[in-house]
Protein backbone atom coordinates (compact mmCIF):
# COMPACT_ATOMS: atom_id res chain seq x y z
CA UNK A 1 0.00 0.00 0.00
CA UNK A 2 1.07 3.55 -0.79
CA UNK A 3 -0.07 6.44 1.42
CA UNK A 4 0.35 9.99 0.12
CA UNK A 5 0.16 13.23 2.07
CA UNK A 6 -0.30 16.78 0.86
CA UNK A 7 -0.04 20.34 2.17
CA UNK A 8 0.45 20.76 5.93
CA UNK A 9 -0.27 17.06 6.53
CA UNK A 10 2.79 16.22 4.42
CA UNK A 11 4.85 18.71 6.45
CA UNK A 12 3.63 17.26 9.72
CA UNK A 13 4.30 13.63 8.72
CA UNK A 14 7.67 14.69 7.29
CA UNK A 15 7.29 12.94 3.95
CA UNK A 16 5.01 13.03 0.94
CA UNK A 17 4.60 9.30 0.63
CA UNK A 18 5.15 6.06 2.49
CA UNK A 19 4.82 2.42 1.53
CA UNK A 20 3.94 -0.42 3.82
CA UNK A 21 2.30 -3.82 4.03
CA UNK A 22 -1.38 -3.48 4.98
CA UNK A 23 -2.29 -5.97 7.75
CA UNK A 24 -4.90 -8.45 6.55
CA UNK A 25 -7.55 -7.43 9.14
CA UNK A 26 -7.77 -3.86 7.84
CA UNK A 27 -10.58 -3.44 5.33
CA UNK A 28 -11.51 0.23 5.12
CA UNK A 29 -10.15 3.75 5.56
CA UNK A 30 -11.45 4.08 9.10
CA UNK A 31 -9.65 0.91 10.19
CA UNK A 32 -6.50 2.13 8.46
CA UNK A 33 -6.61 5.41 10.40
CA UNK A 34 -7.08 3.58 13.73
CA UNK A 35 -4.15 1.36 12.84
CA UNK A 36 -1.90 4.34 12.01
CA UNK A 37 -2.89 6.08 15.27
CA UNK A 38 -1.70 2.98 17.14
CA UNK A 39 1.71 2.72 15.50
CA UNK A 40 2.85 6.36 15.82
CA UNK A 41 1.83 9.48 17.78
CA UNK A 42 2.43 11.71 14.75
CA UNK A 43 -0.68 10.34 13.03
CA UNK A 44 -2.87 11.10 16.03
CA UNK A 45 -2.32 14.83 15.66
CA UNK A 46 -3.50 14.64 12.06
CA UNK A 47 -6.49 12.43 12.62
CA UNK A 48 -7.80 13.94 15.85
CA UNK A 49 -9.74 16.37 13.66
CA UNK A 50 -10.74 13.58 11.30
CA UNK A 51 -13.80 15.43 10.01
CA UNK A 52 -11.71 18.01 8.15
CA UNK A 53 -9.38 15.45 6.52
CA UNK A 54 -10.12 14.57 2.88
CA UNK A 55 -9.46 11.09 1.53
CA UNK A 56 -8.73 9.71 -1.91
CA UNK A 57 -8.50 6.01 -2.73
CA UNK A 58 -6.81 5.34 -6.05
CA UNK A 59 -7.06 9.05 -6.95
CA UNK A 60 -10.82 9.28 -6.43
CA UNK A 61 -12.55 11.19 -3.61
CA UNK A 62 -13.55 8.61 -1.00
CA UNK A 63 -14.89 8.41 2.53
CA UNK A 64 -14.02 6.76 5.84
CA UNK A 65 -15.96 3.61 5.01
CA UNK A 66 -14.41 3.11 1.56
CA UNK A 67 -12.82 -0.36 1.25
CA UNK A 68 -9.05 -0.54 0.91
CA UNK A 69 -6.62 -3.34 0.10
CA UNK A 70 -2.85 -3.65 0.00
CA UNK A 71 -2.69 -2.80 -3.71
CA UNK A 72 -4.40 0.59 -3.23
CA UNK A 73 -3.00 4.11 -3.19
CA UNK A 74 -4.51 6.16 -0.35
CA UNK A 75 -4.13 9.93 0.05
CA UNK A 76 -4.88 12.12 3.06
CA UNK A 77 -5.08 15.86 2.59
CA UNK A 78 -6.64 19.03 4.04
CA UNK A 79 -9.50 20.89 2.33
CA UNK A 80 -8.54 21.90 -1.21
CA UNK A 81 -8.67 25.22 -3.00
CA UNK A 82 -7.69 25.93 -6.58
CA UNK A 83 -8.34 28.82 -8.91
Amino acid sequence: MVIKYFSWIKEHIGKSEEQFELPKHINNVNELINYLNEIDEKYKLIFEKKEIIKIAVNKTYSSFDTNVSNSDEIAFFPPVTGG
Partner: protein, 157 residues
Protein backbone atom coordinates in the same frame (compact mmCIF):
# COMPACT_ATOMS: atom_id res chain seq x y z
CA UNK B 1 -15.24 13.83 -25.66
CA UNK B 2 -11.56 13.08 -25.10
CA UNK B 3 -9.34 14.97 -22.72
CA UNK B 4 -6.70 17.01 -24.53
CA UNK B 5 -8.58 16.83 -27.82
CA UNK B 6 -9.16 20.35 -29.18
CA UNK B 7 -12.60 20.22 -27.53
CA UNK B 8 -11.49 19.46 -23.98
CA UNK B 9 -8.02 20.50 -22.90
CA UNK B 10 -6.87 20.16 -19.30
CA UNK B 11 -3.33 21.04 -18.26
CA UNK B 12 -1.57 21.36 -14.93
CA UNK B 13 1.73 23.10 -15.60
CA UNK B 14 4.47 25.34 -14.24
CA UNK B 15 4.56 27.48 -17.39
CA UNK B 16 2.50 30.58 -18.05
CA UNK B 17 -0.21 30.54 -20.74
CA UNK B 18 -1.14 32.77 -23.67
CA UNK B 19 -4.75 33.94 -23.65
CA UNK B 20 -4.95 34.62 -27.42
CA UNK B 21 -3.64 31.19 -28.33
CA UNK B 22 -6.09 29.54 -25.93
CA UNK B 23 -8.98 31.62 -27.26
CA UNK B 24 -8.21 30.42 -30.81
CA UNK B 25 -8.41 26.78 -29.68
CA UNK B 26 -11.81 27.44 -28.09
CA UNK B 27 -13.09 28.84 -31.36
CA UNK B 28 -14.65 25.73 -32.91
CA UNK B 29 -17.39 25.02 -35.41
CA UNK B 30 -20.69 26.55 -34.19
CA UNK B 31 -18.98 28.72 -31.57
CA UNK B 32 -20.77 32.05 -31.13
CA UNK B 33 -19.50 33.03 -27.69
CA UNK B 34 -16.25 32.52 -25.78
CA UNK B 35 -15.87 33.35 -22.09
CA UNK B 36 -12.39 33.29 -20.56
CA UNK B 37 -11.51 33.57 -16.92
CA UNK B 38 -7.95 34.49 -15.91
CA UNK B 39 -7.03 34.35 -12.24
CA UNK B 40 -4.18 36.52 -11.00
CA UNK B 41 -2.07 36.11 -7.84
CA UNK B 42 -2.77 39.05 -5.56
CA UNK B 43 -0.06 40.61 -3.41
CA UNK B 44 -2.25 40.94 -0.37
CA UNK B 45 -3.93 38.39 1.90
CA UNK B 46 -7.19 40.02 3.01
CA UNK B 47 -8.03 37.29 5.53
CA UNK B 48 -4.79 37.65 7.48
CA UNK B 49 -4.24 41.28 6.55
CA UNK B 50 -0.67 40.87 5.30
CA UNK B 51 1.44 41.26 2.19
CA UNK B 52 2.44 38.19 0.19
CA UNK B 53 5.83 37.76 -1.47
CA UNK B 54 4.99 34.54 -3.30
CA UNK B 55 2.65 31.58 -3.35
CA UNK B 56 3.44 27.91 -3.92
CA UNK B 57 0.82 25.56 -5.33
CA UNK B 58 0.89 21.80 -5.24
CA UNK B 59 -1.50 19.28 -6.72
CA UNK B 60 -2.02 15.51 -6.76
CA UNK B 61 -0.73 14.40 -10.17
CA UNK B 62 -3.24 12.10 -11.79
CA UNK B 63 -6.10 12.82 -9.40
CA UNK B 64 -6.26 16.58 -10.02
CA UNK B 65 -6.48 16.10 -13.78
CA UNK B 66 -9.06 13.33 -13.59
CA UNK B 67 -11.31 15.19 -11.13
CA UNK B 68 -11.23 18.30 -13.36
CA UNK B 69 -11.97 16.15 -16.37
CA UNK B 70 -15.09 14.67 -14.76
CA UNK B 71 -16.55 18.07 -13.99
CA UNK B 72 -15.62 19.48 -17.39
CA UNK B 73 -17.36 16.60 -19.17
CA UNK B 74 -20.49 17.27 -17.06
CA UNK B 75 -20.41 20.98 -17.97
CA UNK B 76 -19.87 20.19 -21.60
CA UNK B 77 -23.21 18.40 -21.71
CA UNK B 78 -25.14 20.59 -19.26
CA UNK B 79 -24.42 23.84 -21.13
CA UNK B 80 -23.99 22.41 -24.66
CA UNK B 81 -20.48 23.79 -24.90
CA UNK B 82 -18.37 23.70 -28.07
CA UNK B 83 -14.97 23.58 -26.27
CA UNK B 84 -13.47 23.86 -22.78
CA UNK B 85 -9.91 24.55 -21.65
CA UNK B 86 -8.66 24.50 -18.07
CA UNK B 87 -5.01 25.40 -17.43
CA UNK B 88 -3.91 25.53 -13.80
CA UNK B 89 -0.41 26.52 -12.84
CA UNK B 90 1.50 24.93 -9.96
CA UNK B 91 4.86 25.69 -8.35
CA UNK B 92 6.05 29.06 -7.11
CA UNK B 93 4.16 32.12 -8.33
CA UNK B 94 4.61 35.81 -7.60
CA UNK B 95 1.97 38.52 -7.14
CA UNK B 96 0.44 39.53 -10.49
CA UNK B 97 1.36 36.17 -12.13
CA UNK B 98 -1.46 34.46 -14.00
CA UNK B 99 -2.53 31.39 -12.01
CA UNK B 100 -5.51 29.83 -13.80
CA UNK B 101 -7.22 29.95 -17.19
CA UNK B 102 -10.74 28.65 -17.69
CA UNK B 103 -12.07 29.11 -21.21
CA UNK B 104 -15.44 27.95 -22.43
CA UNK B 105 -17.12 28.30 -25.80
CA UNK B 106 -20.73 27.76 -26.76
CA UNK B 107 -23.26 28.68 -29.43
CA UNK B 108 -24.90 31.18 -27.10
CA UNK B 109 -23.47 33.59 -24.61
CA UNK B 110 -25.30 32.77 -21.39
CA UNK B 111 -24.26 29.12 -21.55
CA UNK B 112 -20.65 30.17 -22.00
CA UNK B 113 -20.86 32.54 -19.00
CA UNK B 114 -22.53 29.93 -16.80
CA UNK B 115 -20.19 27.08 -17.77
CA UNK B 116 -17.09 29.18 -17.07
CA UNK B 117 -18.46 30.58 -13.81
CA UNK B 118 -19.42 27.09 -12.58
CA UNK B 119 -16.00 25.60 -13.36
CA UNK B 120 -14.32 28.43 -11.41
CA UNK B 121 -16.61 27.93 -8.39
CA UNK B 122 -15.83 24.22 -8.53
CA UNK B 123 -12.05 24.75 -8.82
CA UNK B 124 -12.14 27.02 -5.75
CA UNK B 125 -13.73 24.37 -3.54
CA UNK B 126 -13.26 20.88 -5.00
CA UNK B 127 -10.14 20.66 -7.17
CA UNK B 128 -7.16 18.99 -5.43
CA UNK B 129 -4.79 21.96 -5.12
CA UNK B 130 -3.13 23.35 -2.02
CA UNK B 131 -1.61 26.80 -1.71
CA UNK B 132 0.90 28.19 0.71
CA UNK B 133 1.45 31.95 0.86
CA UNK B 134 4.91 33.16 1.79
CA UNK B 135 6.26 36.45 3.06
CA UNK B 136 9.38 37.49 4.94
CA UNK B 137 7.99 36.42 8.28
CA UNK B 138 5.97 33.27 7.80
CA UNK B 139 4.24 30.79 5.50
CA UNK B 140 0.56 30.24 5.65
CA UNK B 141 -1.44 27.38 4.10
CA UNK B 142 -4.52 28.87 2.49
CA UNK B 143 -7.79 27.40 3.71
CA UNK B 144 -10.93 27.55 1.65
CA UNK B 145 -13.44 30.37 2.02
CA UNK B 146 -16.93 29.60 3.17
CA UNK B 147 -18.14 32.14 0.59
CA UNK B 148 -16.71 29.84 -2.09
CA UNK B 149 -18.73 26.91 -0.78
CA UNK B 150 -21.82 29.12 -0.85
CA UNK B 151 -20.99 30.14 -4.42
CA UNK B 152 -21.02 26.54 -5.58
CA UNK B 153 -24.53 26.01 -4.22
CA UNK B 154 -26.11 28.31 -6.80
CA UNK B 155 -25.47 25.63 -9.46
CA UNK B 156 -27.56 22.88 -7.84
CA UNK B 157 -29.77 21.57 -10.60
Amino acid sequence: MKKNSPLIKIKIQNEDFDVSAETKILHQKNTGAIVNFVGVVRGYDEKNNQLINSMTLEHYPGMTESEIEKIVVDCYKRWELTAVTVIHRVGNLKPSDQIVFVGVSSKHRQNAFDGCNFIMDWLKTKAPFWKVEENNKNKNWVSFNDSDNQALKKWAK
